[in-house]
Subunit: 126 residues, 2 copies
């Protein structure tokens, strides 16, 4: 099921996701929009986030626990804080040739890659 008709709900979800620079879960987006759209449904948030990540408008990131979403569709890397479980951008330059290089070590074709760093964010260190 690809996106065809527009909806206020989807516009609000994309807008919210692109304005924030954290990487909220579906529920966090739902809670953020709930005030302005009191009868928004959590299922609608999930459905739209999935459609949007399938057609490449946004990114879905699985790191254990609830999935996180990222309004920045350009490939970039992340760090997961083991204390607060928040996900942060790591502006390390994307390794452009890693996919072509890796293909000889892999058993199939490669279409994309992600790098996730694990550690403790400054907020949790202090």
């Amino acid at each position: 099921m690809a996106v065809t008709k527009r909806s206020k709900q989807r516009d609000a979800i994309v807008n919210e996701l692109c304005q924030r620079h954290d990487h909220p879960t579906a529920e966090e987006i739902y809670l953020a929009l709930k005030t302005a759209m009191p009868n928004l449904s959590l299922g609608t948030v999930y459905r739209n986030l999935n459609m949007l990540s399938e057609d490449g408008t946004i990114q879905k990131i699985s790191v254990g626990g609830a999935d996180h979403f990222d309004g920045n569709a350009m490939n970039h890397y992340h760090m997961l804080c083991s204390e607060c479980k928040r996900l942060y951008d790591v502006s390390y330059p994307v390794i452009e040739d890693i996919e072509e290089k890796a293909v000889s070590f892999a058993d199939g074709k490669i279409t994309s890659h992600t790098i996730t760093f694990f550690g403790v964010c400054n907020g949790c260190l202090h």
Copy 2:
């Protein structure tokens, strides 16, 4: 809760995981051992896999859907097949200095990293 006393169940789980080179989910390990240990409990499999990954004996890998486990505790990279959802090893040499290099692009301290490639495995391509 760290491991102190041994158990046949945990030994079987570690043994199973180290013998196979796929990256089974908790349920796949449970099903594989169920024949030989008919009253093994799925909760026991989960509990042990978590204890073992916490003390670094095995690895837990989250890529969406059920978590996968890897008996090889050395850092190495993986590819997720978007067709069959199986996780494969990618023997691309580990980028030893990426964590020190990335720290200046990150907002905290880094303790480890993973690289996940996405694509389609040979089994699903043919």
